[in-house]
């Protein structure tokens, strides 16, 4: 092996990729050039295994202002308002150092949103760990929650919702995804472009150090093995204070129209923040690395170009505006240096200490990145899994099953986590964490913005198409529950090793499922993220696509439904097609430790009808409205009872309906005498009155047995499940 071979391989490049670099340059790359190609062509930055499939997503709609390809998607909310949204993962960094991994994940997704010109107004975290009886998982969970809180609270953006789930498959590979929503006036929209020849590139924010060299990009692109300890020194540290100042400074720059384009520095740092904006503008750039402000001495050009130091932004500015930009930076006490000049032509030239260290076609770093159409094949184990069903002909003790489900950390209250997050800042959180969808008011308008984020690795493991398709419908139903109409989706595709055909198959099936549902609903996918190589010692996680769906309610309901608003004397109604679907359910997981069978597919027309009905119910002041998901009807009812501090008594025709996780089902607390049946009939949705709220017990009757438990016992199981496991 030649020395150069050793270098490119150590940087994670294949021999074929190295040859492509030689083809592009017509010569052997210099060290700094090789460093740039290696980070830009990593899986994390180049999407080389996924790019050819992401085009499948429907991404167009009249209200889409910016679709996939920029730092965040942007949609038009009307009346001059735009929303920017994006979701990102920080799975591998969070395993290496949970606090900083999660914290820098929050910092990164915020930058993607305020890079577009928007003020970030809310965050949602979707976090998945192995079971809490293992100390390492408790440490990771605690560290990740503290990291999200530590960064999100201090940077001053509320975390208003999310998901917490636990499963064996995440034990050595936790998933930490964060979604961010921002808003802006239309004229504030900024793109990641370098502008025209003569524009200057200003690097704003923290000094550059050796943080994360080969961190996010290399870490997120390679699996864990016993040597992951060796990758440790590259951990990045987040500084929410600096980020807060950057946000305010950038928003002031946009408001005053002082920049022509902006690009955040994330994975691949300066390599990305110079080449991508230049490529988007069809320009080149001359960059002077000596002008970069540094935290450590003795950094090489390659290190400066690869560094993933946090809280940095690149602004492109016309020369006449530079002094104004520097004055804004100085007011907010952030560093700002001119580090480059945009040039005609397409060449990115980088100089350091009197030497030309890189001279490459700017677009080659992003657009010429390799693309792999990796083989995909249905896993051999899939059909045997489908055949592996449980026999539920005999009814268990329904009361103890319900208590066990309520005590399961994936189902139980996540208050332990979300009460560590500031979820009230900005005074917009009308429906906050602990409900189905979050609802934020947009002050000064009658618009409400609703978001739901949903993932379900078990369903997607058993059937990635059906599972992913159902996620979109579930998210849409969740936003409908607070009165909103779906508008846009962002997705985070958390998968195993794409070099395995069965993982690639799961990946493609999930994309098909998400696309099918989005097409049916008429909702575009405006952005997302792919996280591959979520495997440890050759074992992949369950395929875990996470969907974040933005909806808008206009006008926002005066009193949107809440889980804690049911009251004694109200009726319990169920809307939607009752069906028994226990494959992949919480009942089979918690009670039987089983994962088999084939979950039901979505019924698109019914989904649309139930979603429309939910919106109508929300608009007319329904007290409580809750979609049926993990743990089925019984858990959904218990959640309303616990949160509303009222008992209930209902009956069902078959005990299995109480725990079935069939899609498109809604539970409602309605005033007695309200003619829900006609409303539902008009919407084409089956409806049944199951019973009434009242008393201090949760009573669920079926022909095969009765669940009759004290509300207080249910509440104790539900609220103390996570805290008890952490004590």
């Amino acid at each position: 092996m030649s020395e150069q071979t050793a270098v490119h391989r150590a940087l994670g490049m294949t021999d074929g990729e190295y040859d492509s670099v030689i083809d592009i340059l017509g010569r052997e790359p210099r060290t700094a050039e090789l460093a740039m190609y290696s980070v830009m062509w990593s899986e994390h930055c180049s999407y080389k295994s996924s790019r050819s499939h992401l085009g499948r997503f429907p991404s167009e709609a009249p209200w889409v202002v910016v679709g996939p390809g920029e730092n965040a998607g942007v949609v038009d909310l009307g009346d001059g308002w735009l929303a920017a949204l994006r979701i990102e993962s920080h799975n591998h960094p969070s395993f290496v150092e949970p606090y900083q991994g999660a914290a820098t994940g929050v910092g990164g997704i915020l930058r993607d949103v305020f890079t577009m010109g928007a003020r970030p107004i809310a965050l949602w975290d979707q976090i998945r760990f192995g079971p809490l009886d293992i100390p390492k998982n408790r440490y990771l969970f605690g560290g990740v929650v503290a990291g999200i809180a530590g960064y999100g609270n201090a940077v001053g953006v509320p975390t208003v919702g999310g998901e917490v789930a636990f499963d064996e498959c995440y034990s050595a590979n936790p998933l930490v995804n964060v979604m961010c929503l921002g808003i802006m006036r239309r004229e504030q929209l900024v793109l990641g472009t370098a502008g025209s020849a003569g524009s200057l590139a200003l690097l704003l924010g923290k000094p550059t150090g050796r943080d994360g060299i080969g961190g996010a990009s290399v870490l997120a692109s390679a699996s864990f093995d016993d040597e992951s300890g060796a990758k440790r020194p590259s951990v990045q540290v987040g500084d929410p204070f600096e980020e807060k100042k950057l946000i305010e400074a950038c928003l002031e720059l946009y408001a005053r129209g002082l920049v022509v384009g902006v690009q955040d520095l994330g994975a691949a740092g300066l390599s990305c923040a110079t080449s991508e904006p230049a490529a988007r503008a069809g320009m080149g750039m001359d960059v002077d690395l000596d002008a970069v402000h540094v935290r450590e001495s003795g950094m090489t050009a390659a290190e400066l170009l690869m560094s993933e130091s946090q809280e940095r932004m690149m602004a492109f500015v016309e020369p006449s505006r530079v002094d104004d930009v520097l004055a804004v930076a100085s007011k907010w006490e952030i560093d700002a240096r001119v580090v480059g000049t945009v040039t005609a032509g397409h060449t990115l030239r980088i100089r350091f200490q009197g030497e030309l260290v890189a001279e490459v076609p700017a677009a080659s770093l992003s657009e010429a990145a390799p693309r792999y159409d990796r083989p995909a094949a249905e896993p051999a184990w899939l059909r045997p899994r489908w055949a592996d069903t449980l026999d539920h002909s005999e009814a268990p003790d329904l009361g103890s099953v319900l208590l066990a489900l309520l005590d399961d950390p994936s189902i139980a209250s996540a208050a332990w986590a979300f009460q560590q997050y500031d979820h009230m800042l900005f005074l917009d959180t009308v429906v906050g964490p602990g409900h189905d969808g979050s609802l934020l008011r947009l002050k000064g308008t009658d618009k409400g913005l609703a978001v739901s984020t949903d993932g379900n690795g078990r369903l997607c493991f058993l059937d990635p198409f059906r599972g992913a398709e159902r996620l979109v419908y579930e998210a849409a139903l969740n936003v409908a529950v607070v009165g909103a109409e779906p508008m846009a989706v962002v997705d985070n595709l958390n998968f195993g090793n794409p070099e395995k055909p069965e993982v690639m198959w799961q990946f493609r099936q999930s994309i098909e499922g998400i696309s099918a549902a989005c097409e049916h609903l008429g909702v575009p996918v405006v952005g997302g993220n792919v996280s591959f190589y979520n495997e440890t010692d050759g074992v992949d996680i369950h395929p875990t696509p996470v969907v974040g769906l933005l909806g808008m309610a206009e006008p926002m309901p005066d009193r949107p439904p809440r889980l804690d608003a049911a009251a004694s004397g109200m009726d319990v109604w169920m809307f939607g097609p009752p069906a028994i679907d226990l494959a992949g359910s919480s009942l089979e997981r918690v009670i039987h430790g089983h994962l088999g069978g084939r979950p039901m597919g979505a019924d698109p027309d019914m989904a649309t009808a139930v979603i429309a009905l939910a919106r109508r119910l929300a608009a007319r002041g329904t007290a409580a409205l809750h979609d049926v998901s993990d743990g089925g009807l019984a858990v959904a009812l218990a959640e309303i009872c616990i949160r509303s501090e009222v008992g209930a008594e209902i009956s069902v025709d078959d005990w299995r309906l109480a725990f079935s996780e069939a899609p498109h089902l809604l539970l409602a607390a309605l005033d007695p005498g309200f003619d829900a049946a006609s409303l539902a009939a008009a919407a084409g949705v089956p409806a049944v009155r199951l019973g009434t709220f009242g008393g201090d017990r949760i009573i669920l009757r079926s022909p095969d047995g009765t669940c009759d438990i004290a509300l207080s016992e249910a509440a104790e199981a539900y609220t103390d499940s996570i805290p008890r496991r952490l004590r």
Partner: protein
């Protein structure tokens, strides 16, 4: 036995708080501060006779809990 553990963030790892404090000192007119680093020092009083055993016990505490192995180094002093 009395033991002192000094926990120090590795030099290559960013230290945002230290940087902010250094800037604040300069703002207050304390010029001449070239560098500033904030460490944690943990003083333990611990049962045991054998310095080497105690040191090993404290090293285990550091690895498990007191120090963050990803970000920090530690140094143990067992006092006579």
């Amino acid at each position: 036995m009395n033991v002192t553990v000094t926990i120090r963030r590795r030099a290559v790892i960013a230290d945002p708080h230290g940087a902010t404090v250094a800037r604040a000192l300069a703002d207050l007119g304390h010029s001449g501060v070239r560098s500033l680093r904030i460490d944690r020092t943990i003083h333990l009083e611990i049962d045991g006779e054998e310095p080497e055993t105690v040191r090993q016990q404290v090293a285990a505490m550091c690895d498990q809990l007191l120090a963050n192995p990803v970000l920090e180094d530690y140094e143990i002093t067992v006092h006579a």
